[in-house]
């Protein structure tokens, strides 16, 4: 099953890279949902044949939270605030891909000097999770829209989740569920705040008293 884990890891990095280069927000959310879907399959591959109730639960809950509920909330948000595409990305398509590839190389280079204990030594989990995290950070800092920052945050969380899967024995189930629930609620709260920001924006449209975003003190 090791090869399937590696395939999922590589897919996760690939999707994070394409998310970095996509400019349509709907497309970004779809890519994120797909990435979460692949990641939620990893626990099943890890159990090597005999699938226990625990891995199945973890996989299903992850799928529900990350691949279904979180993207639906984001879709609901963009429908509410009627926004479809990025205004002007700081970096263009080519530059994003180039910077992303450099980050992936850096992640692999860092993980060369780190040794995972136990049976996980040969897998691609560590470099791929680092690469996904770095790409998520990159998405956060190169985009100007608030919702793309949320997506970047979710990609970082996906990278961390991938890493966490190698540690299934150290965390009891209820804490894993707590972590998943927390991340889900984070997206939920962010969506609500975004919605409030939009309402306030509509309300004060055209009035000169409103300071520009980031310029008030």
């Amino acid at each position: 099953m090791m090869s399937w884990i590696d395939v999922s890891c590589i897919l996760a990095v690939f999707l994070a890279l394409s998310l970095l280069a996509t400019h349509r927000i709907v497309g970004m959310i779809k890519i994120f949902a797909l990435q979460s879907f692949f990641l939620s399959l990893v626990p099943l591959f890890m159990s090597a044949g005999a699938i226990s109730g625990r891995t199945l639960t973890l996989s299903l809950v992850t799928m529900a939270f990350k691949a279904v509920l979180a993207p639906s909330i984001l879709f609901w948000t963009i429908r509410h605030i009627s926004m479809r595409s990025e205004v002007k990305p700081i970096l263009g398509f080519g530059t994003s891909i180039l910077c992303g590839s450099v980050l992936i190389a850096v992640a692999f280079w860092i993980s060369l000097s780190l040794r995972l204990p136990g049976k996980l030594v040969p897998s691609l989990i560590l470099p791929c999770s680092l690469a996904t995290m770095l790409l998520g950070f990159m998405t956060m800092v190169t985009r100007t829209r608030a919702i793309t920052q949320v997506l970047g945050y979710m990609v970082i969380e996906n990278g961390i989740f991938l890493f966490a899967l190698s540690l299934l024995d150290a965390m009891p189930v209820f804490i894993e569920m707590g972590i998943l629930l927390d991340i889900f609620v984070a997206v939920f709260v962010m969506a609500i705040v975004l919605n409030h920001i939009n309402e306030e924006f509509e309300r004060t449209r055209g009035s000169s008293s409103r300071p520009k975003w980031g310029e008030s003190n």
């Binding site: 780190l114 995972l116 204990p117 136990g118 995290m133 956060m140 608030a146 920052q149 945050y153 970082i156 969380e157 961390i160 890493f163 966490a164 190698s166 540690l167 024995d169 150290a170 965390m171 009891p172 804490i175 707590g178 972590i179 927390d182 609620v185 984070a186 709260v189 962010m190 609500i192 705040v193 975004l194 409030h196 920001i197 306030e200 004060t204 409103r210 300071p211 975003w213 980031g214 008030s216 003190n217």
Partner: protein, 470 residues
């Protein structure tokens, strides 16, 4: 049983406030709950509760200090709110509900003995405090909320990564329960532990608002209402400090204390220098108090990093900082409610119109900058003392210099507020008894602690220092 109840009952309260009832009922319910919470926590000083949930929930002396601080803060804030909402017309349902959840989660932080559970609790406090910041919904508060939510979420995500690195370092233990990690500390993989310590420090340090991760603080504290700021500056940030103390326990046992101490001291000094620079040009009183909070967080990590008497000072400072924050931010909040602003060009000469508030503002200045006879003076002195004992003479000099500059920065602004040429208050509300009693009692407690250290407190502080070990 009792610890679980202490966590679950406030959550029930968070649901109860959604039932149809008068706004005042919710406030009195919050106050009653805080009072009950405080009484139970007070009983823990006589007899510590037994561990629950197979050792996941344990109240040790470190947790007891934090839990008492949190409980005290809620008692003050809920009493203050009764006065505050007499002049306030916006609904308080979401607000009180979030406060109940926050009380529950901060209790969980104090008693959780599993690094994963600790992370879950701290992250949840971030999520429940975000809606509190944008209570007065306008452009500035929403911007502050967004900044807080995003910076802290990403920071806390790094702490999660650090927690997982810790799990790898403690691979042989197969658990993240604190006693198991501490017992097997000698067999921890040091490379992974170092990586984990860096990630945990950056993550929780971000939530604590240490420089250079403090960028959310001036905005969030500047625009949130006074009572929310008190809970954040006195409660939430110190919850993250408990997480840093837990890391310190692990580092000491595994022989990494020098490595960790160097990080703590460096960041601590930076957190004193940055506010000293920014405070000199600040025109908004709440923002200047926010920078003062960065300074106090810097002192806490400095004390922890210096070890010995410094740790005692840092733990004592946790209590004093919380009380000082009550005086500072609640006064600033009640003033902002009267004037509709906290900027120096709109609020001046307060002493001619609100003499009592003004006295509190001056007390807040003295308490917040660590002047004798307030207890903050003693704890800051202990931390400087630790720097001298460990022969960090330059460090002690820098600390004293920064504290002096910070005093000048805050005093300049506060004195302008108090004695400047009077401006007319826009909203012109009367002095409120509830508000004044709250602030006065916090100031009196701080004064008493400064003159006399109760024996049980001294004992618990010494037990807590022994737990950290360094």
């Amino acid at each position: 049983m009792i610890l679980s109840l202490l966590i679950v009952i406030p959550l029930v309260g968070a649901l109860v406030v959604w039932l149809p009832a008068k706004a005042m009922f919710r406030l009195w319910l919050l106050w009653a709950m805080s009072l009950g919470h405080a009484l139970v926590v007070a009983s823990f000083w006589l007899r510590r509760p037994v561990p629950e949930w197979q050792g996941y929930l344990v109240l040790d002396p470190l947790g007891l200090i934090l839990l008492s601080v949190v409980s005290l803060l809620f008692l003050f804030v809920s009493f203050f709110m009764i006065g505050y909402f007499q002049h306030e017309h916006s609904g308080n349902r979401t607000f009180t509900s979030c406060l109940f959840c926050l009380l529950s989660m901060m209790t969980l932080v104090s008693v959780s003995y599993h690094m994963g559970l600790l992370w879950v609790a701290i992250e949840t406090t971030t999520l429940f405090s975000a809606p509190l910041i944008s209570f007065h919904r306008n452009w500035e508060t929403l911007e502050a909320t967004w900044k807080y939510l995003l910076v802290c979420s990403v920071g806390i995500a790094l702490a999660l990564m650090g927690t997982f690195f810790l799990a790898i370092a403690a691979h042989d233990a197969h658990t993240l329960l604190l006693p198991a990690i501490l017992n097997g500390a000698s067999s921890l993989s040091l490379n992974w532990l170092k990586l984990s310590v860096i990630f945990l420090f950056v993550g929780y340090g971000c939530k604590m608002g240490l420089a250079p991760m403090h960028s959310w603080k001036p905005k969030a504290y500047g625009h949130a209402t006074g009572m929310v700021t008190v809970l954040m500056a006195g409660g939430l940030t110190q919850c993250s400090f408990l997480a840093l103390i837990r890391v310190s326990q692990i580092c000491y046992k595994s022989g990494l204390s020098d490595f960790y101490a160097s990080i703590l001291i460096f960041t601590g000094i930076l957190s004193l220098v940055v506010p000293a620079i920014f405070l000199l040009g600040e025109k908004n009183i709440k923002r200047s108090f926010a920078f003062s909070s960065v300074e106090h967080m810097g002192l806490l990590v400095l004390g922890l990093g210096l070890g010995g008497v410094g740790i005692f000072g840092a733990l004592f400072h946790m209590i004093n900082n919380a009380l000082a924050k009550v005086v500072m931010f609640l006064t600033a909040g009640s003033m902002a409610q009267k004037y509709g602003s906290s900027n120096a060009h709109e609020v001046r000469g307060v002493i001619h119109i609100y003499p009592v508030t003004c006295v509190f503002l001056l007390l807040g200045l003295l308490a917040g900058t660590g002047m004798f006879p307030f207890a903050t003076f003693h704890s800051e002195l202990l931390i400087i003392n630790a720097a001298i004992i460990t022969k960090h003479y330059t460090l002690a000099g820098i600390i004293i210099l920064c504290l002096a500059v910070i005093f000048i920065g805050i005093a300049r602004l506060v004195l302008e507020f108090v004695y400047g040429k009077p401006t007319e208050p826009v909203l012109a509300k009367k002095e409120n008894l509830f508000i004044n009693i709250t602030i006065a009692s916090a100031a009196v407690m701080l004064l008493v602690l400064g003159l006399w250290m109760p024996a049980p407190l001294n004992r618990v502080l010494h037990e807590a220092v022994a737990l950290i070990g360094a």
